[in-house]
């Protein structure tokens, strides 16, 4: 087994991320996003399974009215994220070592991941964005809501952290 390659310096990676965000703003007028892609896919699934349910909820409707939810801008962007991260991990030799550690995930940790995902889905829907779409992109253009979201996110995280200490030895 190869040793785990170290990551890039966080400050440098942050500056690169900021430049990507700036390019996104300059090219498209909007920032990066992630949770919107999940909302779009969820709307697509619902409209295929039960079109009446989708039509009944204004939340699903808002993702279905501008063309196919499967080829929405943000869904394509997230597919790009998957490709970019996979290539970067493979080129840097980080894929295998990460996979080995993930090969034996305990059931409890997987459950915590799913539960965390559900909570984040609800939180992101209410806040209209996640750490990338609202906190990062909105924070960079000094949106008040983005800073409120960021503040309460870290507050809840720090308060809850001691309670779930078992998950992160």
């Amino acid at each position: 087994m190869r040793p785990l390659r170290s990551y890039a310096d966080p400050h440098l990676a942050g500056v690169c991320l900021g430049l990507v965000l700036l390019a996104c703003f300059a090219l498209t007028g909007q920032g990066l996003g992630a949770s919107g892609a999940f909302a779009s896919v969820a709307s697509g699934v619902i409209s295929n399974v039960s079109p009446e349910t989708a039509a009944h909820s204004a939340y699903f409707r808002s993702y279905l009215q501008d063309g196919s939810p499967w080829t929405a801008w943000i869904v394509v962007e997230i597919v790009g994220v998957l490709i970019g991260a996979a290539v970067s991990a493979a080129l840097a030799g980080r894929t295998r070592s990460m996979f080995v550690r993930a090969a034996r995930p305990s059931a409890g940790k997987l459950f915590a991941s799913v539960a965390g995902g559900i909570l984040m889905g609800i939180g992101a829907a209410l806040a209209r964005g996640c750490t990338s779409g609202l906190a990062l992109s909105g924070g960079a253009v000094l949106s008040v809501g983005a800073w409120i979201f960021m503040g309460t996110l870290f507050l809840a995280g720090f308060v809850a952290a001691p309670l779930v200490r078992r998950l992160w030895p």
């Binding site: 310096d9 400050h11 440098l12 500056v15 007028g29 909007q30 204004a58 409707r61 808002s62 009215q65």
Partner: protein
């Protein structure tokens, strides 16, 4: 880690220089794009009917902003629900995000049309206006006359929309002949934030 420190110092310098840079927004130099204005007018993509606007408001179309360009006094008197008041002289200072659909209206529609051209010259191309203004809103949405030759389903649709905004259709009354009812509607208490 020396370069991280340098990165921080340069960020600090850029940040502290910001207050002395003046406005960061490029001076408006776009001018009028006459071709695109002519095209929009030709294709009819410059306006939207009062009834269509009513459907958008009812369906809570995301990114919809209804802008009343009349004076604050007129706006207080009566306005389309969910509308915000941005008088003509404030229009150029307002911020419009690219994803929003801006719908402009005025009393009769002329000022809204002029506001549309103003916004276009500022590069805000996602705006439309209501040609008949608030008068159309009252006649087509709040108190529409149901066309005699319309089907039952069509009539029900128009009625439902009218009731949604707290109005009532004028059944069997020919359009334009009822001055009394028109002045009466002008005195109605406004109903906001449906």
């Amino acid at each position: 880690m020396k370069w991280v420190r340098q990165l921080g110092i340069s960020a600090l310098a850029l940040g502290l220089g910001a207050p002395f840079a003046g406005s960061s927004f490029r001076a408006p130099q776009r001018g009028l794009d006459l071709d695109s204005i002519a095209r929009a007018i030709d294709q009819g993509s410059d306006h939207v009917s009062a009834r269509q606007l009513a459907e958008w408001i009812r369906d809570r179309r995301p990114g919809l902003r209804v802008i009343d360009v009349r004076s604050p006094a007129e706006f207080r008197d009566d306005a389309i629900p969910t509308a915000e008041n941005v008088p003509i002289d404030q229009l150029a200072k307002s911020h419009f995000a690219p994803g929003q659909t801006i719908v402009l209206y005025s009393q009769e529609g002329a000022h809204a049309g002029q506001a549309w051209v103003m916004l276009h010259s500022l590069g805000v191309t996602q705006a439309v206006f209501v040609p008949g203004g608030l008068a159309d809103w009252r006649e087509e949405v709040l108190h529409p006359s149901l066309p005699a030759n319309a089907s039952t389903a069509e009539r029900a649709q128009i009625e439902a929309l009218s009731h949604y905004f707290g109005g009532s259709p004028r059944i069997g009354v020919e359009q334009g002949g009822d001055m009394a009812s028109a002045t009466q509607t002008g005195q109605r208490p406004r109903r906001r934030g449906c």
